[in-house]
Amino acid sequence: MSAKVPRNFRLLEELEKGEKGQGSDACSLGLDDGNDIMMTNWNGTILGPPHSVHENRIYSVKLHCDEQYPDVPPTVQFLSRINLPCVSQEDGKVDPTKLQCLGNWKREYTMETVLLELRRFMASGNNKKLPQPPEGSTF
């Protein structure tokens, strides 16, 4: 078994990957408050996948990493309105039981894992054709 990276150093790695632009082009990630030494709240964006109703849209999400992250998954909430089966139409919260990577969370997963899986979910089967609220509307 390998060394277990503690929460804060894991979050620093995720932050630095974002700062150095080493992450995926399809999403971005940053700290909500650059002074928050505990790095609890994050802002993410997801670029809507091509060949779907989401193409060219940019979705904003909030992620919350509590003290037990990454032993437990972050909580995720859309700020941009979106019609997607795993997203509550009341407040934009992502239902962890309806997204594979949250429901079957593994410690090696990152916030980027979650953003990219949400993007794949937008492009899958019926989801890519669902009618969407006006672009730019928010919860």
């Binding site: 390998s2 060394a3 277990k4 503690p6 150093f9």
Partner: protein, 149 residues
């Protein structure tokens, strides 16, 4: 998980022969993860403060340096808002001959000798160059506010 002998030895020595003004205690559930405290050096703006840090020895330590950051807020040109430290021995000048002990001593020395020409916190470094007495006064205030023992 077997802990490398090198880490066991270093930890034993840190506990048996602690460095004055420095404490490093491993977590019970992760022996590569240490709670650290460093006393601000005398005659520095950090004198009288006790600063908390966290230190982690990555899988390939000692081939790569320890990861370390401040948890206590500190006003210093080489330490940023998230407590990350700009110090050559933590990066390009790391050598496996260095140890946890020597790194913590280097950080304590950095508190005594801020280096605004190699900044990590640019706003702090700029102030340090333009108004050193003012910057030192702010560093003292922050020490009293955030690092009271």
């Amino acid at each position: 998980m077997a802990l490398p002998k090198r880490i066991i030895k270093e930890t034993e020595r840190l506990v048996a022969e602690p460095v004055p003004g420095i404490q490093a205690i491993p977590h019970d559930d992760n022996l590569r993860y240490f709670d650290v405290s460093i006393h601000g050096p005398a005659q520095s703006p950090y004198e009288g403060g006790v600063f908390k840090l966290e230190l982690f020895l990555p899988e390939d330590y000692p081939m790569t340096p320890p990861k370390i950051r401040f948890l206590t807020k500190i006003y210093h040109p080489n330490i940023d808002r998230l407590g990350r430290i700009c110090l050559d021995v933590l990066k390009a000048n790391w050598s496996p001959a260095l140890q946890i002990r020597t790194i913590l001593l280097s950080i304590q020395a950095l508190l005594g000798a801020p280096n605004p020409d190699d900044p990590l916190a640019n706003d702090v470094a700029q102030r340090w160059k333009e108004d050193e007495p003012g910057a030192i006064a702010t560093a003292r205030e922050w020490t009293q506010t955030h690092a009271a023992p």
